[in-house]
């Protein structure tokens, strides 16, 4: 017998500290699989965020650094401008990318930096115990929206990918989810494409991944899959949002 599926080469052989059922584990693996398939492990430099994925450096078998909260796009810009032939990607949560790091995201995108961003949208601040994220759904209860997010007071689930698509500097933006095997396969395809865009020097690519946070949603891992399906998808529709490479979108 031969092992036909298992831990990707780019992934360290250790346990993660993520909660049971956390989507980060899946997204980590997908990124590693793509890096293996593209054969770029030894020329990749990853920029980890502050967020639950702050320990990504323990799980990935390639060079990693860790930016201040919200600043991965700026750090990645610094790296890529000095080493344009390395593959540089940021891995960011919704708080990191779409709240404190909004300006850095928008401007790295608008400059068309030739980097890739994996944007893990779990509609909450996981690491700090479950506060509202900019992507938190209307009515969703969090530590800082104890009676559910009220758009009059706390605004709307932010459509940052759609907003970024308006900028001339962005090349490829797609929204995917990791709540079912089917969606996971699509997510992987999108992530691969995003890295390919970078390999071909075509500019800024971003994949928004709708991901489970059972802990801060106060549901079981299984319910979390449904939660993505039933609550997130209507607000954050999946699909290609912009693609300057293959279509005119």
């Amino acid at each position: 017998m031969k092992k036909i599926l298992g831990r990707p080469e780019s992934m360290q052989d250790v346990s993660t500290i993520y909660c049971p059922g956390c989507g980060h584990g899946i997204v980590h693996r997908l990124v590693c699989e793509v890096i293996d398939e593209l054969g770029i492990r030894e020329k990749t430099i990853a920029v980890a965020p502050v967020g639950c994925a702050v320990l990504a450096y323990q799980y990935w078998k390639f060079d990693t650094t860790e930016a201040a909260h919200g600043r991965p796009p700026a750090v990645a810009t610094g790296i890529k401008r000095i080493l344009p032939d390395r593959i540089v990607f940021t891995y960011q949560g919704d708080g990191d990318l779409a709240a404190i790091g909004t300006a850095e995201t928008v401007h790295a995108a608008n400059r068309g930096e030739n980097i890739t961003t994996i944007f893990v949208n779990n509609a909450v601040y996981g690491m700090t115990g479950g506060q509202m994220a900019p992507t938190t759904l209307i009515g969703q209860k969090t530590l800082t929206t104890p009676s559910g997010r009220d758009p009059k007071l706390a605004g709307y689930p932010i459509k940052i990918s759609e907003a970024l698509a308006q900028l001339d500097g962005t090349t490829y933006i797609e929204r995917v989810a990791v709540n079912s095997p089917k969606n996971i396969l699509k997510a992987k395809k999108a992530i691969k494409k995003a890295f390919q865009v970078q390999l071909e020097n075509r500019g800024f690519s971003l994949v928004e991944v709708l991901s489970m946070c059972p802990t801060a949603w106060w549901v079981s891992p299984e319910e979390a899959l449904k939660w993505v399906e039933e609550r997130m998808l209507p607000e954050f529709p999946l699909g290609v949002i912009k693609d300057k490479v293959t279509s005119n979108k």
């Binding site: 430099i45 450096y57 060079d63 650094t65 930016a67 610094g78 000095i82 300006a103």
Partner: protein, 360 residues
């Protein structure tokens, strides 16, 4: 070597380029705009990277990125922009990443005004960001010195894997003076490649460049595990101790002085003039001009304390460096202070008067 009339801000830029700095990110702010503009023009000429960042926060994070792959990096700003960089500087200090940060101070607090001032001494010398870190702080007092201290700042940054702050002010940044552009410094001339964006990568065995042929590395300021952060901080503290080797100051006519002025940057220029005039009047006065503000030249100040009638610290603020002078002196002689807060300049006449008071 022919002299050239140069503006302080531009002298910093040229010093950086000669030191092999090939990455500059910055956000415009008066009174340092000429430096950003200079880098915008010069960087492409030397195959370097110039980025006008979306903010000072982004600028310091871009430095973080470019430094961790080995480039010599610089940013510059003025007081409010430097305040915005405090988190980022703390991160770089924590991750032990070298970089050079020029603060061409202006009047504060808040928006204040754009005249020269020295109100950011505390921030620069005591790690204005969070945590127990320090950074080397160099205080030039002439255009010539802005050039060569900047050049050296990059060596120091690499040697100690630490941010280095050039603490100038709007006067030094904006003034023009004749200066010599000395030949490229030794390290670049000997092995460095002025065309390369990374100087001596081989010497930096900690940088990230993709893990080809080696184990992956990680650069970060998150320090977990039992006692690790404490140990890390202790190691940083040792480094700061070691930096005392770099202490520099200029001592002028202190041998027979009964009163000694202590001042840096623009105030030191004013003090020099005051001192020369006072000497002409026969007053026994000297000057100690700290060039490194951190580490602070406390030895020389302590040494002279017991035998003089007093120190007079002169600053363009309400009394910041004077604390370091007092700490050095520790009660061994009186320490006086004359300061003009943001917007004002110490006056030579008043300095001389105060010297007379000290000399009794």
């Amino acid at each position: 070597m022919a002299k050239r009339l140069m503006m302080g801000n531009e002298a910093i830029g040229e010093g950086a380029i000669q030191a092999g700095c090939r990455f500059y990110a910055g956000y415009p702010i008066t009174p340092q705009n000429e430096l950003t503009a200079y880098m915008a023009k010069r960087m492409p000429e030397v195959n370097g990277v110039f980025i006008q960042s979306e903010s000072e926060l982004a600028a310091i994070s871009m430095l973080y990125g470019a430094s961790l792959v080995g480039a010599r990096t610089m940013t510059s700003s003025s007081s409010p922009g430097i305040s915005l960089m405090q988190e980022g500087i703390s991160y770089m200090a924590g991750a032990e990443l070298p970089c050079v940060i020029a603060n061409i101070q202006r009047g504060g607090p808040g928006l204040g005004n754009i005249s020269g001032a020295q109100g950011d001494y505390f921030q620069a010398t005591r790690g204005g960001g969070h945590g127990d870190y320090r950074t080397l702080v160099l205080a030039p007092h002439s255009v010539q010195e802005m050039f060569h201290l900047t050049r050296e700042a990059f060596d120091l940054a690499d040697r100690y894997r630490s941010p280095v702050i050039i603490l100038g002010d709007g006067v030094l940044g904006q003034m023009m003076e004749p200066m010599e552009i000395q030949p490229p410094k030794a390290s670049l001339a000997k092995g460095g490649d002025p065309e390369s964006r990374i100087q001596d990568p081989a010497k930096k065995d900690w940088i990230l460049d993709g893990c080809q042929g080696r184990e992956p590395r990680s650069i970060k300021s998150l320090i977990l595990g039992e006692n690790s952060l404490e140990k890390h901080n202790e190691r940083l503290a040792e480094k700061y101790k070691e930096m005392e080797k770099e202490i520099r100051y200029e001592a002028v006519e202190i041998e027979d002085a009964q009163a000694i002025l202590v001042a840096f940057g623009t105030s030191a220029r004013i003090c020099k003039e005051a001192m020369h005039r006072a000497r002409k009047e026969g007053l026994k006065v000297g000057l100690i001009r700290p060039i490194t503000l951190f580490p602070f030249p406390k030895e020389i100040i302590l040494e002279n304390a017991p035998r003089i009638k007093g120190y007079l610290t002169v600053e363009m603020n309400l009394g910041q460096m004077v604390e370091d002078v007092r700490l050095a002196v520790s009660g061994r002689c009186p320490v006086h202070f004359y300061g003009r807060p943001a917007g004002g300049f110490p006056e030579v006449e008043i300095i001389i008067e105060k010297i007379k008071e000290i000399l009794g």
